[in-house]
Amino acid sequence: MDKQIKNAFDAVRAEESLKQHTKAFLHEKMGQKKARPAPGFRRAATALAACAVMLLVGLGGYRTYFQGVSFISVDVNPSIEIGVNRFDRVVSVTGYNEDGEDLARSVTLKNKTYSDALTLLMDSEIMATYLENDELVTVTVLGATDEKSVEMLTNINRCAYADDANVTCRSGNRADVAAAHEAGLSFGKYEAFLELQALDPTVTPEEVSGLTMRQIRDRIDALGGEITAHPGNGGQNGQSGQGQGSGQKHNGAGKNAPDA
């Protein structure tokens, strides 16, 4: 009987989701604890040490934290670009059209990790409405290095929203960034524009600017383009988008980061 009690308890295991939630909670808490000053004498000592560090590091440290080194473009019709610093925290959010600016204003993403920020964005009321209306969402990642792109994409693909059939997560092409911004498009949307332009040379960035990703994709499909970037139109999944994007990103190595 004592063996039965042991076996009965042995079958009780912590659910994986419970462990993951706890890890995420600790990750967040530990970030806050590190930022919070300690009480009393230690607080003064910490403040002095912090001042000294600030003096030593000065503007360099400030720039290190607030400089975006990796970028994520989220495109539906609203297009936004999220700048991520070397500590994986969001430091800038730029809307690339009116809807994008509305979306950027509706959620507070700064200083959150990019994973948390994207989850918050995808769960927002505005994005939920787009997804309910069967719009396509393309998340294009541009890491500071190729390895960083792969790491970010892997993390993003683990998030629940990545399983949505209308959401594609992929790596971007660094070479396109400057041209995209010159054309007034986010680099994620610009890549869709290039794909469409290859099939229809008459199309302009201004024209694409007003189209949703679904409309662009439909035009590419109508022109007989290869279905490379979205699962909703070809039965592929986010991973295939990643593969395609990964191939692209080698083309543009060495160019500057976006000026977001």
Partner: protein, 160 residues
């Protein structure tokens, strides 16, 4: 403060133990999640140095039991017997064992920890006494009464 890596290692190592103790005390998944966060955050913030794995495990058991009791003391918490926690058990729990768990969970609160620590964690009465802040004789008494009650509930099957 411990590192995130240490915290993750502790979660992987002790999550099942914490989960079992939560099952004994709590009735909802939300409460269990609260306890998980509370216990592992305490671990992260604790400066306790553990002599070995047993020592560390005993710390987790003690802290989890205390956290559960604190949570149940809270004014707004219901105090019902956590039988409905069984509904949240993993499906793979062998059906022929669920009545055993049900019997343990239906014991009065004061016997559950002792039965769990003795039968599952295989702790001695002295160790159980240290964890629960009771003297050894009280542990023997609780164990003996708990065992009798279990025997009744399980239809007189022999209990070791």
């Amino acid at each position: 403060m411990r590192s995130e890596q240490e915290a993750n290692r502790a979660i992987e190592r002790y999550a099942d133990t914490v989960r079992r103790i939560c099952l004994i005390h709590l009735k909802s998944h939300a409460d269990t999640e609260d306890i998980f966060q509370n216990v592992f955050l305490k671990y992260v913030l604790s400066s306790a140095v553990f002599e070995n794995e047993e020592h560390e495990k005993a710390w987790f058991i003690r802290v989890t039991i205390n956290a559960c009791k604190d949570l149940l003391k809270s004014f707004f918490r219901s105090r019902s017997v956590p039988l409905d926690a069984l509904a949240e058990l993993p499906e793979e729990t062998a059906p022929d064992l669920s009545h055993v768990l049900e019997a343990v969970l239906s014991l009065p609160k004061k016997y559950r920890d002792v039965i769990y620590l003795h039968y599952y964690e295989e702790q001695s009465a002295a160790e159980i006494g240290r964890i629960l802040h009771k003297n050894e004789n009280s542990v023997y008494t609780l164990l003996s009464r708990g065992r009798s009650l279990l025997r009744e509930k399980l239809g007189g099957e022999a209990i070791g």
